[in-house]
Each structure stands twice: as C-alpha cells, then as structure tokens.
Assembly symmetry: C2
Homo-oligomer: 343 residues x 2
C-alpha cells in the first residue's frame, strides 16, 4: 500500500472522505463507476467493539476502516466474514473484521500493514487510508464555558447544552496526517465528503493538520454530499448550509466546489418514524445556498429505509435513513463530466 | 473442497493422519516433497482456546485444523496472523486462527465450508479434512472398573490409575466419518500416522467407524511414525511396539505396513530435562518388532529441542522434543520408492 491510486488505467480517481456508514454507502455505489477509489477514514472512533479493543490492546480504531474495506471487497464470502458479529460468549458483540485488524496490527506491528494485508485477504479494489496513524482521542470544548467532552463515544451520545458551532474540536495528542491521505487528496479527480455525523465522524477527520490545506490545494472537484437528516440534540435545525459551513470550519476555511443535497420529502410514515426520534430531513436554506461560494446541486436522493449494515454501534432508538447512493453516484459522475470541461 | 487430491499432476499423494503438533511438523516437511497432501484431523479437542469457543458457541474444534492449515499455507504473513494468540484483554489466550474458523463456521453454517474458505485465505497447498463433521466429545472407560473419563482436556491431563490398554475409547455421540477422509485414505499413495498422544489425538481419530476399514482396504503404503517420547502417567514404559499395537487396536485391527522409529539417543542434558518431567525416549523392543506383521525402519530422527509452536495447550512442565521431520520425510519418500516397486 504505497500509492493511493494505481498508476495505470484512466478511470476517474475519487477520494472519499468520511467515517463508517456514509463512506460505506458511497463507496458501494461509486465502485460501479470507477476502480480508482481511495477511502480516507476517520480514526477517532472509540465506541463499541472498536472501543473495547482499543482500550484493552492499545490498538488503533478498526470499525470505520473495516466498513470501507468491506465496501470495496470483491469477495462476497470474505465480506460476510468481516461483517460477522459474534452473538454470545467471550466475543459477544465483537465484529470479526475488528478482531482481524487488531490481530494484524499486533502481528505486523503497524496499522497500515494491517490494512494492507486485510485488503489482500478481502480482495479490495481501491485503497483504504486511515486519516492518521497516531493513536488519538477526540475532545470537544466550549471555550466560553467550562464544558469539555472527552472521547468519540461520549460525544456521540451527548445532547449538547451549548451550540456546537461555538465548540472547539480537537484530537489528543495532536496527530500528523497520514501522508497517503494527503497524496490521495492531491491526486484525486473528485473528492467526496460523505454524509456523516459532524462532530464525531467528519469533524475529527477534517481537523487533522494538513487535510484542510490539501483540500484547498487539490485540483479535484470537491463535493460535500449533505446529510439527509439532522441529529437530535446535536444538529437539530441545522440546514444544508449550516452543515457545509461546519465542514469548512473544521477544514480551516473554504474548499468546497459543490454541495449536493436532497430535495425529496419522505413519505408520511417515514417522517413520523423520524420525528419520534427527533430526527428531521435536513432543511434547505435557499437564501444561504444562493449566496454561498460553492455551487449546489439538488436531487431526489432519498433511498428506501435500510436496516443497519455494519455500523459499529447501532443506537436502538435511531432508525436508518439512507441516501439513494446510486443516484448520488450518478449525479457526482455527471457533475464531474460538466465540471471537467470547465476546469 | 470436493476432492481430497487434485486430479492433475503426478506428485505422490500423501494422506497425513493425526492431531496438532505431530501433523504440523510432518506436513511442514512433507510439503517440500509433494504438493498432493491431505491432512485428516482429529476432531475431539475440547481444551484451551478451542474448548472455550466450543463451549460458548457450539462450534466444532478448530485448534488442530488450524495447525494443519498453517503448515500447508503458502503465505507467511497470513500464517503469522493465524498463529497469533492474543496476550491480554477479553481475548487473552485465544488464537486468531481459532476465532476465524469459528466465525467462518457461523457465517457459512458449515465447518467444511469454513475450512475451505480459510484454506483460500491462507493459500493452502493441499487439503485439510476434519475426520468427522459431527460435534463429538471423547470418553475413556475402563470396563472392569467404574472409571469413566469425559472430555479430551480431562483425559489429556490425567495420570491414569489403570492400564490404558484395557480402556475403551469412544466418541459421544457416535460420529460418521467425513467421506472426504475415507476418500483421501483410499486414493493416497502413502498414509502417514503422525506421532501424537495415543489417547487424546490419534485414538479419537482412528476409532471413528469406517476409518480402520478404509485403512485396511487402501492400497497405500501405510506407515506409523512412532512417538519419540512417552507421556508421563499415560504411556510410561510403552515401547515402539506397544504404541503401534494401540494404534491398530483403535483402528480395529492390523493395517500398518511400516513403523518408523527413532534409534538415536538424546544428549545427556536433554535426557535429564525429560527425566524431570517423567518423559523418556520411547524404548525399542527389538524382539517384538522382529515378530510384528509390519516392517520397521529405524533412523536418527531426533531433532533439536523446539519451542512450542502452535500447540493449543502447552503444559508448562512439558518441554518439547521434536522429530527431525525433514529426515523422517526423506525416509518416507525413500520407503515409498522401494515399496512402490514391490507393490
């Protein structure tokens, strides 16, 4: 695993930036359009099976990496194995893929080696790149108050008492970006920021020193695929523009060329189910979007309700609404064709 | 995994029958002489990591199968992964290969599928065949007494109060032999019974209905590679001939063409170290061997002292003496050349 993209072939090179489920969904769809995919993955996860393994064995977080590997795998049988979660006994709740990545890190002494070997085993088409190879924990702090939250798991479960847009997000200790991640962003034709939790998935990745600058310097078409729904107690009321603004705040400034958002309304019963959980379709703030430095593209991106696939912790009370990832992928490819000509 | 041996190629076909370490050692040496190896593996193990997984998840025993897979693997990196044993935390003491086989059995719903997929992952040259696919436990019973021992782990740790040659060994419930095992024995040019614990490794395999008959019917050269040392409290004082007699008792009658045994004496300090543990070089009973229905071949088969490799349970008080497996393999191949002509 030395280069983010293959040197041969003229497929479009796409770097996909994000965490678990959002990246999984986008990679699963984009792989039908190109074989040149690099998934840059959040490394702040410390919950669930991943968290236990980190705490007990001092290894790096495997959950999000595992999901990206599975998305890019060509072997259905071994994909099922990676996704398998033990139901009982000593291993109850643990995902096999996490155990494998942890064992590989122990055996090879390096998380990148572990990811490379797992990629071989899974016959992965593409490259999975941990955003950093440092062992970090997430911290969220409101400078005007005394509130400090420690750890991705804690922050993820929190109902924020203060506006998160005033909060400072940091990784401890301050990590170095994986050079492969920087290279992937530099070489990509398209960079996709996938939908994902702002403060526990996208934020922890985009704040890494060097990532923001790489995004601004890259010649790629840079697109954020906006979250479909808001998260109760964290991003309630956040519009598409608010999401994009936070994304760019994390990255230290403007870099987005395009924001893709959904304009489709859910059916009444789906909406009702969401309302129960305090989640709502992300509102579209046309005034703000029209004035934004980035362009926007609206589509009917609402997929069918999905069952949890490989999420590391599945909050029981939270249903899962998904993008119609095929539709989003097609929109991205169309966008690139148009944009490529003007570039 | 449908055929024990490939239909193409004119390599000598060797079926190796045994348990963990003995099979591991012989397979590791024999693979330099042929690519047509079938390892038929004892399935009564219920100790250590394997035992915990069996008890908790109801899966078949993975430890001995794992060792054979590792021996036949072409991928050093993935071999190391399979052999990795977690040192601490929830998984402490568990071997990664066992976890993988267990997860695969759960995912595929079948232990043979699990072995086949693990073989792919490990790039195994050859075939690893569980002797039975039934979930069985070992039982050892002295009919003249009221003593009944249950479970491989219990029997393995026992200091027998009665002569084990009077004991009845059984699997509960009475299993069906894996048809692949029967086929491998039938098609083999050589069948090797590897050195191994008589009552907890070789016995539990050879007593399976159909295995003994297959051995007697097979046109293969059938060789038992005699144990190097006796086991304290179980086979103390057993000669080479005594070992061979028990092997044939388990299989329900004569089938051996040859017994290979070691005639080399250990150095004084190795002997002293063994004596401490009540283990002795297996005595050679020339009178008995000369009268036996099988032929014998004696060699200098003593290897250097080895560190434990992948044994599932390593009794702390028991050092490890190993065959010079390369020497044994060469002797077997020479024997076949000679025998093949007379066949």
């Amino acid at each position: 695993m030395e280069e983010p993209f293959k040197k041969t072939g003229n497929d479009i090179k796409i770097a996909v930036i994000g965490g678990g489920t959002g990246s999984f969904t986008m990679l699963s769809a984009l792989k039908h359009h190109t074989r040149q995919l690099a998934a840059i993955v959040n490394m702040a996860d410390d919950g669930g099976s991943t968290g236990v393994l980190r705490d007990e064995l001092g290894t790096l977080p495997s959950g999000d990496v595992r999901q990206c590997l599975v998305a890019l795998s060509d072997s259905p049988k071994i994909r099922d194995l990676f996704d398998y979660r033990f139901e009982e006994g000593t291993f109850g709740g643990h995902s096999f893929g996490n155990i494998l990545l942890t064992a590989l890190e122990k055996v090879t002494g390096s998380f990148s080696e572990a990811v490379a070997t797992a990629s071989e085993i899974l016959r992965v088409n593409g490259t999975v790149i941990p955003a950093t190879l440092d062992n970090v924990r997430l911290k969220m702090e409101w400078p005007e108050t005394s509130v400090i939250l420690h750890g991705e798991r804690v922050i993820d479960a929190k109902y924020f008492q203060h506006d998160p847009r005033q909060a400072h997000l940091a990784l401890v200790p301050n990590p170095t970006a994986n050079p492969m991640a920087i290279q992937a962003i530099a070489e990509a034709d398209i960079v996709v920021i996938t939908p994902g939790d702002l403060y526990t998935s996208l934020g922890p990745l985009l704040i890494i020193d060097g990532i923001g600058d790489a995004l601004r310097e890259s010649k790629a078409l840079k697109v954020y695929v906006s979250n479909l729904v808001t998260k109760n107690g964290q991003t309630a009321g956040f519009s598409v523009g608010d999401h994009a603004a936070e994304i760019e705040r994390f990255a230290g400034g403007h870099f987005l060329d395009y924001v893709l958002y959904n304009k489709q309304q859910p059916t009444d019963d789906v909406a009702a189910r969401y309302k129960q959980e305090g989640a709502y379709i992300t509102p579209v703030d046309m005034d703000v979007l029209h004035k934004a430095h980035y362009k926007t593209l609206a589509g009917n991106f609402l997929g069918t309700m999905a069952e949890a696939h490989t999420a590391d912790i599945i909050p029981v009370t939270r249903s899962l609404i998904r993008h119609d990832a095929e539709e989003v992928a097609r929109a991205l490819m169309d966008l690139y064709e148009t944009y490529g000509e003007r570039r």
